[in-house]
């Protein structure tokens, strides 16, 4: 009985569906064409009674597969939540009646649309199985934190406070990181007028006193393998000993390095001991031990100091940083206040180009600096001349003249650079290079790469992928802390330049994500964005050609290869985007609830009228994260969509199989519109690279069209954002117009 499939259809006639459509005909289509063994109508299916009807059928009639024809699959998800059966949804409300005008002449085509959506949903559910998880999962509550600075320690304390044991691996012999050597920090509390205690000593004491936190000093990761819930990390100490421990999730808090101003001779950093970086100044202040700050060359107490801002940052020059760290001006104000505090009536001048003191706190701190008589001069420093008194030459940008000032000490505001491992894509580039010259170039780039931090035994490389400027990949608004390695989270300045306060906030966020990842892994559930999905990719080994497309294209590096180069899917690393499925040329990869068939059969079951009926069919494959909700939104706003369109949601553009395109063209569809998310450095793709992979794949559709002797305009791919509620329907309607212009497909049999 348990293995027997029983299919049931449910048609909702509420929200105007019953008035606009012939529900009886829909029911006939569901049972006759869709082969539903039973079909019921309900005037408000999402009501308590409606839902109970379905529950009763599952309990009493042994229904295993249900087709619900009502609203969009994004609506009423709480009501239509039947975890024990496979379910598909035919979108009659947002997909049909809300996008078509309620007029007599449109009645026929509107009904045809609805009929097709019923056929599609019936076909889809027939090829679905309710996922149950792989049984691979295990719960491991232990969290690994890499890095013992303010970010790492905060992450550890937060994790421990939530009841999860933590190990900190710190490369150096002490905890505290950069901040451990600072005199004071930028204020984090109102009135934001004075530098404040860094709080680092207390934090170190808290970490050391915490029974749930184990600290490994002078240690690095020699090897990390596995997946969320079962990471095995070999922690190697300087002395050569090592131990391997198991973790549920990992937080990388490896911080930053400072830009080396030696590359910029105009600042005389290498020529004068009295030219120091902002971080070196902290050291001088610590040495002063509460007395006046002394200059390094001769120990004279500093009577005048110039802060040179924005050194080698925000630049288009080679060997300089193309970005700005954003906090250097707050640091300069803080450090100028050190001099006001410790060196009496010391002249302090901050030479800035654009003063960046973000937020109300920044503005208050800036004003406090002005109140303390720090001189702020808008000037571009051209040269620092070494000598017993330093001479700073600058262009006064307000007065537009060349000026010079004398001082005892010059402090350079140098930028933060991420402390990350080598980019896996730089590693992959060597392998993927098409000729020897390109391979050589890629190899040269790789040689300059920093040493590995995580030493991941991953098919795609040893460390977290980079996005811009070497910082670890993360969408700063949508998915902070997320990386493209599931269960490994980046926090602090390894992710982007930030100050101590932000790093601590970051650490807390990453700690929560790590705990969530470990818990999800324990239950076999997907992490964001398909949170809770129990399905996982499986493949038909006998059909696999070991081509490696799936292992190379997976945006999350989830898939390893065994000795024979067959894929190993590592379910807990998988985000369920289906990019592997779309990449597979022999179509052997599938999910229980999403496969080449669940979509392919929908396409096949649309009724394609004969050419002389002059009823074209346009297939729309829309990303379920952005494009599909945009279409739902436009439907709510009553924006019309052509009656010829049939929209199929896909998990990601990356999951689109070329076979769906060729099959639909062969079946007589007249046009195809593909909608994925924005790709590239400013990506909005929920699977980071999925959309890019998909669009890349689709760029090769031209060959298929050529073989079929079809016009290239029949297939169009677009990047669509969730806000494109006017544009998304227009793109579909544009295709209808294109078809009108170039004529119907000749492939209608």
């Amino acid at each position: 009985m348990a293995d027997e499939k029983k299919f049931a259809g449910y048609i909702c006639t509420g929200c105007g569906i019953g008035e606009r459509l012939d529900a009886g005909q829909l029911e006939t289509i569901a049972t006759r064409d869709g082969k539903m063994q039973s079909c019921r109508q309900h005037e408000m299916l999402c009501s308590k009674e409606g839902v109970q009807t379905i529950r009763d059928d599952i309990a009493n009639e042994g229904v295993t597969h249900i087709m619900i024809a009502a609203c969009s699959r994004r609506a009423k998800v709480e009501a239509f939540n039947f975890t024990e059966v496979a379910m598909s949804r035919a979108n009659l409300r947002e997909g049909v009646i809300w996008v078509r005008p309620d007029t007599d002449e449109n009645r026929e085509t509107t009904q045809e649309m609805a009929d097709d959506y019923i056929r599609m949903a019936c076909a889809e559910v027939k090829f679905m199985t309710q996922p149950t998880g792989s049984g691979e999962q295990e719960l491991n509550k232990q969290i690994l934190v890499v890095g013992g600075g303010i970010t790492g320690m905060t992450a550890a304390l937060e994790t421990a406070a939530a009841g999860y044991p933590v190990h900190i691996v710190e490369k150096s012999g002490v905890l505290g990181g950069h901040a451990g050597g600072y005199y004071k920090s930028i204020p984090t509390r109102s009135p934001y007028a004075e530098p404040q205690d860094t709080g680092i000593s207390q934090m170190i004491a808290d970490v050391e006193a915490n029974d749930s936190i184990t600290v490994h000093l002078n240690s690095t990761l020699a090897r990390t393998e596995g997946a969320p819930g079962r990471f095995n990390a070999e922690i190697a100490t300087e002395s050569g000993s090592s131990e391997t421990l198991s973790f549920g999730a990992i937080i990388q808090a490896t911080g930053f390095k400072l830009y080396d101003p030696s590359a910029l001779p105009q600042y005389a950093y290498d020529k004068s001991a009295d030219v120091v970086t902002n971080e070196e100044l902290e050291g001088l202040v610590m040495q002063a031990d509460g007395g006046p700050i002394k200059r390094p060359s001769d120990g004279k107490a500093v009577e005048s100091v110039a802060f040179v801002q924005n050194v080698g940052q925000n630049s288009t020059e080679e060997n300089e940083l193309p970005y700005h760290s954003g906090i250097g001006d707050m640091i300069a104000i803080k450090q100028a206040m050190y001099f006001k505090e410790l060196n009496g009536n010391c002249d302090t001048t901050i030479l800035f180009d654009n003063l960046r003191t973000p937020g109300a706190a920044g503005e208050d701190f800036y004003r406090a600096g002005q109140q303390k008589m720090i001189t702020f001069s808008k000037g571009a420093v051209t040269e620092v001349v070494p000598g017993s008194t330093l001479e700073v030459k600058f262009k006064d940008l307000i007065l537009n003249d060349d000026a010079t000032m004398q001082c005892d000490l010059v402090v350079l505001d140098v930028g933060m650079m991420p402390n990350t491992g080598p980019d896996p894509y730089a590693q992959l580039a060597v392998e993927e290079a098409e000729d020897e010259a390109e391979k050589e170039k890629a190899r040269a780039l790789l040689e300059n790469a920093p040493p590995s931090i995580l030493n991941l035994e991953y098919r795609q490389g040893t460390d977290l992928p980079h996005l811009k400027y070497g910082f670890t990949d993360s969408h700063f608004i949508c998915f902070p802390y997320e990386t493209r390695r599931t269960g490994i989270y980046a926090a602090g300045p390894t992710r982007r330049p930030m100050d101590m306060r932000q790093a601590a906030d970051d650490a807390a966020g990453a700690a929560m994500k790590a705990i969530q990842a470990a818990e999800n892994a324990g239950k076999g559930r997907a992490a964001h964005p398909r949170s809770g999905d129990l399905s996982f990719p499986s493949f038909r080994k006998e059909g696999c050609t070991q081509c490696k497309r799936c292992t190379v294209e997976c945006p999350f590096g989830a898939i390893n290869e065994d000795e024979k180069r067959y894929p190993i899917f590592n379910e807990a690393r998988c985000r369920r985007c289906g990019t592997c499925m779309g990449a597979c040329p022999v179509r052997v990869i599938s999910f229980e609830n999403y496969s080449v068939d669940t979509v392919g059969q929908q396409i096949k079951n649309v009724e394609v009228p004969e050419e002389w009926d002059e009823k074209p069919r346009i297939l729309v494959l829309a990303c379920e994260n952005d494009a599909y909700p945009a279409l739902d939104q436009s439907a709510m706003n009553g924006v019309e969509i052509t009656q010829w369109a049939r929209v199929v949601p896909v998990r990601c553009l990356g999951s689109i199989s070329l076979s769906w395109i060729t099959d639909s063209l062969n079946n007589g569809y007249d046009g195809i519109v593909l909608m994925g998310c924005q790709k590239g450095e400013d990506y909005q793709c929920h699977f980071v690279k999925g959309s890019e992979m998909g669009l890349e794949r689709m760029s090769k559709v031209g060959d298929t069209l050529q073989t079929l002797n079809l016009e290239p305009e029949r297939v169009a791919s677009y990047e669509v954002a969730i806000t494109d509620i006017q544009r998304a329907p227009k793109l579909i309607n544009d295709m209808a117009e294109t078809v009108q212009n170039i004529g119907m497909s000749p492939f209608k049999f």
């Binding site: 002249d347 002005q370 109140q371």
Partner: protein, 208 residues
């Protein structure tokens, strides 16, 4: 160079900013300028200023004492208060400009024949004489401030305006003889004398 000027240079050798804070009306605000330039863009006579306010503030911080105090710029202020109402930092810019102009005058550093300075001085003298402004005398002394010949020319140029005002009874020839004034003139003058003394003492003190 006046004695007071020499004393001030001596006293504030290192910081013109501190000198301004001590001696210029609302001068303690100068350090709070953030160099956005909204004042310069808001000034109706912006083009006439060699150094717009935010530049003046920058020059003060850069110690350009001579250049600031002998500048013509502050004397271009029309007292329209646009800069005050727009300054995002809330600096009383109009007052600081007035204060700087007055301080420059006190130190004897105003450029020679600065017309607004001369007019302002006449205005002040005129009102102090009787406690109220005598518009006729003010106008006449203004026309003749560059000598009798110039004065006749200017008067001729302005004669239509004067006639218009006379005809509409908005100017009275009688004002040339006595005219309006406060009744308790001696009381008024005693008050003003004391106020001057107190202010002079304050500035002298800061210079010592």
């Amino acid at each position: 160079m006046t004695e007071l000027n020499t004393a001030m240079i001596e006293q504030y050798r290192n910081s013109f900013l501190q000198e301004v804070e001590a001696n210029v009306e609302e001068g303690e605000w100068v350090k709070m300028c953030m160099q956005c330039g909204v004042c310069a863009g808001s000034c109706p006579l912006g083009n006439a200023w060699e150094h717009p306010p935010q530049e003046i503030f920058m020059m003060i911080r850069a110690g350009k004492r001579e250049a600031v105090l002998s500048s013509d710029s502050m004397w271009m202020c029309t007292s329209c208060y646009n800069c005050i109402s727009r300054c995002p930092r809330g600096l009383p810019i109009t007052h600081i400009m007035h204060g700087l102009a007055h301080y420059a005058q006190r130190l004897g550093l105003v450029p020679k024949n600065q017309p607004t300075q001369r007019f302002a001085q006449m205005f002040w003298q005129n009102l102090n004489k009787k406690g109220r402004v005598n518009e006729l005398k003010l106008g006449l002394s203004l026309y003749f401030m560059n000598g009798f010949g110039e004065g006749v020319k200017t008067s001729l140029k302005m004669k239509d305006i004067g006639l218009g005002m006379l005809k509409t009874k908005r100017m009275a020839v009688t004002e040339a003889f006595g005219g309006h004034g406060v009744k308790d003139l001696s009381g008024f003058q005693k008050i003003m004398k004391k106020a001057h003394e107190l202010e002079d003492a304050r500035i002298q003190k800061s210079g010592n």
